[in-house]
């Protein structure tokens, strides 16, 4: 496959105050198709989130080469979760699954996590999301094509609670996070920068004592033609948690 984009990915998490480890789980996998990342919320148990992400990675490894879509993987993740009364008791694990292919296509599948933020050259872009219901659970899907300096940012549910103890009308809402990312954007921005800034902001809003895990994941995608013009090396990074 012809690589027409360069993909830079980064993820990080700050654990809840007085906890040693994050319950939210994130994994990034790189293969010949592209880069896939999954962020799973750990509100209902870090061990379960860990299981879910490991399951997802396995599926991506075994099925990714066969061209199985992320939608299919998302369906399987949802089907593996409790249903009925257990689901009503909030025992599901929310996740965001992102696949960025080297041919420039980006696929996002989400269940129970905040919408992803998509910036093109630093400006937020409204993305069309399709929903489908599976076993009473709604999965949101998005499909995009990378153009110029696209950034995709996903955050865990805990991030939106960061401003709860502050005297803010709107709180630390997704809209505010989007505005902040737009403000912080600069042309040379890596995938690491927005993640670090979001975590620092979330921790700051929580007075240094976050009440839940703060996690963020970012993709920075650039078309290779522009890279060749700039003479930049083709380097991809991944952080596996």
């Amino acid at each position: 496959m012809k690589n027409i984009v360069k993909i830079d990915t980064y993820s990080a998490c700050i654990p809840q105050f007085q906890e040693e480890f994050c319950k939210d789980r994130m994994k990034i996998i790189r293969n010949e198709l592209g880069v896939t990342a999954i962020l799973a919320g750990g509100e209902n148990g870090g061990a379960r989130a860990n299981l879910l992400t490991s399951f997802a990675v396995r599926m991506m490894e075994t099925m990714g080469g066969g061209g199985v879509s992320v939608a299919h993987i998302a369906n399987m993740l949802v089907e593996s979760q409790p249903s009925g009364r257990q689901a009503e008791n909030g025992n599901n694990i929310g996740f965001t699954l992102i696949l960025a292919r080297f041919d420039g296509h980006i696929y996002v599948e989400q269940f129970g996590t905040p919408d992803v933020i998509f910036l093109r050259r630093g400006k937020p872009v409204t993305i069309k999301t399709a929903g489908r219901v599976l076993q009473g659970k709604t999965i949101r899907s998005t499909e995009l094509t990378a153009k110029q300096a696209d950034t995709v940012i996903a955050v865990g549910s805990g991030m939106l609670n960061a401003g709860a103890d502050r005297n803010l009308k709107d709180g630390w809402s997704l809209r505010n996070i989007q505005t902040y990312m737009e403000n912080a954007y600069h042309p040379g921005m890596s995938a690491e920068e927005p993640v670090r800034l979001l975590l620092a902001a979330g921790e700051s809003l929580s007075f240094g004592r976050p009440k839940s895990d703060l996690s963020a994941l970012a993709f920075r995608i650039e078309p290779s033609a522009s890279l060749r013009r700039r003479g930049a090396p083709d380097v991809a990074r991944q952080v596996v948690l």
Binding site: G163, R166, N167, L168, K169, D170, W172, N176, T179, Y180, N183, A184, R196, L197, L198, L199, A200, A201, G202, E203, S204, L205
Partner: protein
């Protein structure tokens, strides 16, 4: 030394005393205008100098002949004070002229001929089209307001037998003022009217006033004031040296004596924290108390209810909190103009105004020393609310919404309410840590090290192993400036910072260019 102004109303003066006071105000104003006219040319020449002109230099301009000419106005009782007032007015004019070339020459008294001339000039400008209708209206209303309005009489010292002093009736617990307004020619014959009073001087030793028959050149007037002023006057009874100069002022039909009084015990407590006080977009003020190293100890806001005198109430509250925390208070300079406080449309009418903040600053300058704290420090408020309290990054992009601040450099996030006050509270700490930059430029014959602000320059020889000789030379340079008058306040601040630094090397930042 910190001073405050005590405003005491002269209580129901008789017709005769009103006439005497009016006559004194008129004579004083005419005499002051005479001096300003006489030395307009000389003052104009001084305008061209760049250095500040001290008052004593202006005072020395008044020759013997001019001093004797002042007698035509009958201002002998306050001639010395008049000269001091003239010197102060001229010095202020020169200082303002140096900053703003459009500053107009001071006018102490607009008499009828001058008024007619000024009006004709205004109409002339309007006729030629140099000013429009609005400009004409503005200038004419200013002239009408100033016409015949007397200047206040300045009493340069507090003394029993000249200028002015206070008297106290301990039986009735009342205060009076003794004002020397008359020269020998106009002196009043007979003893002081109300012989039923036994008045004591408010001075060291507390002498009783001798009510002897004969000519007198003063009047004694009763004073009216509030509880706060009474407390201050009672303090002056114990410590008369707190009373300094004064002014006799007429506002409408009422007369006031404005006394400049020293405030505070003179003993300043050591401060252990800093307290930044900034404007609040929703009304009132926000304050932050920081401890050593900039750690935030307290964040809160203060507001006044509708019925309270906002500025005085707020300044009292700030003083209380500062005393409780042992704080050095830090305020926004220039009333907080340009601080870029984010105000939403609905909060616009509630936001604490620049004017009120400036009044607050003036009030705190004497309220804090009264409590034994140092006076407040005013610091630049430029873009105060767009500056990150943690890393100092200053940009509009730090503003996410009208209420949310998030730094795009370090991620520091907080409500906008606290950004201003926190920045103020941390200013001193940041200033102490800031290093003075010295630029090093590579030349053919070595390195040129210089600081343009300090006026320091030194060439490091090509074979120099380290920068020891640079710092030795810098030390000598700083020592050489000691004892000299440094006109530039920025240069002075940098000199002071470096000369007081424990380690000169650590206070300097070498920048290689």
């Amino acid at each position: 030394m910190t001073y405050k102004t005590l405003m005491l109303q002269i209580y129901k003066p008789s017709r005769h005393k009103r006439d005497l006071m009016d006559a004194a105000l008129l004579r004083y104003s005419q005499a002051l205008q005479f001096l300003l006219d006489r030395y307009e040319k000389e003052i104009g020449i001084l305008c061209e100098t760049e250095a500040p002109v001290p008052q004593h230099r202006i005072l020395k301009m008044i020759d013997k002949e001019t001093s004797e000419s002042l007698n035509q106005f009958g201002v002998q009782p306050f001639k010395d004070s008049l000269k001091l007032d003239f010197a102060a007015t001229a010095a202020t004019y020169l200082a303002q002229k140096q900053k703003n070339s459009r500053t107009g020459y001071p006018l102490a008294f607009l008499d009828a001929p001058r008024y007619s001339l000024a009006m004709e000039e205004c109409i002339g400008l309007f006729d030629t089209g140099d000013i429009g209708t609005q400009g004409l209206e503005h200038r004419c209303s200013k002239l009408v307001g100033k016409a015949g309005k007397p200047r206040s009489v300045y009493f340069g010292r507090y003394a029993r037998e000249r200028d002015y002093c206070l008297l106290y009736d301990e039986f009735k617990d009342r205060f009076y003022a003794k004002l020397y307004l008359l020269n020998r020619k106009d002196s009043i014959s007979g003893e002081y009217g109300n012989s039923g009073l036994s008045l004591k001087y408010v001075c060291e030793g507390s002498y009783y006033m001798n009510n002897l028959p004969g000519q007198r050149r003063y009047i004694v007037v009763p004073l009216a004031f509030g509880k706060k002023q009474l407390a201050d006057l009672k303090q002056a009874l114990q410590q008369p040296r707190l009373l300094h100069s004064a002014r006799l002022v007429k506002k409408g039909n009422k007369y006031y004596l404005m006394i400049y009084m020293e405030c505070g015990s003179g003993i300043v407590d050591e401060t252990v924290t800093t307290m930044g006080v900034a404007r609040n977009a929703r009304g009132g003020l926000s304050y932050t108390v920081c401890g050593e190293g900039g750690a935030v100890l307290e964040n809160n806001s203060i507001s006044a209810s509708v019925n309270q005198n906002t500025v005085f109430y707020l300044s009292n509250r700030i003083a209380e909190i500062a005393v409780k925390n042992g704080s050095q208070v830090i305020l926004e300079a220039n009333g907080g103009a340009n601080d870029r406080i984010p105000v939403s449309a609905e909060d616009a009418q509630h936001c604490f105004s620049v004017r009120d903040y400036a009044s607050l600053v003036k009030t705190l300058k004497y309220k804090l020393p009264e409590k034994g704290l140092p006076p407040p420090i005013e610091v630049s408020a430029n873009s105060l609310f767009l500056t990150c309290p943690r890393c100092g990054t200053r940009t509009r992009r730090n503003r996410v919404t009208d209420e949310l601040f998030v730094c795009i450099h370090c991620g520091c996030a907080t409500e906008f309410e606290w950004v201003g006050s926190e920045n103020l509270a941390k200013k001193l700490d940041r200033y102490r840590k800031d290093k003075v930059p010295i630029t090093i430029i590579k030349k053919e014959d070595g390195f040129l090290c210089r600081s343009q602000l300090l006026g320091f320059q030194y060439r490091l020889p090509p074979g120099a192993a380290d920068d020891t000789s640079l710092f030795d030379e810098l030390s000598r340079f700083l020592e050489g400036l000691r004892g000299t008058y440094i006109y530039d306040p920025k240069k002075y601040a940098v000199w002071k910072k470096l000369s007081q630094a424990a380690n000169l090397r650590e206070s300097v930042h070498l920048i290689l260019k």
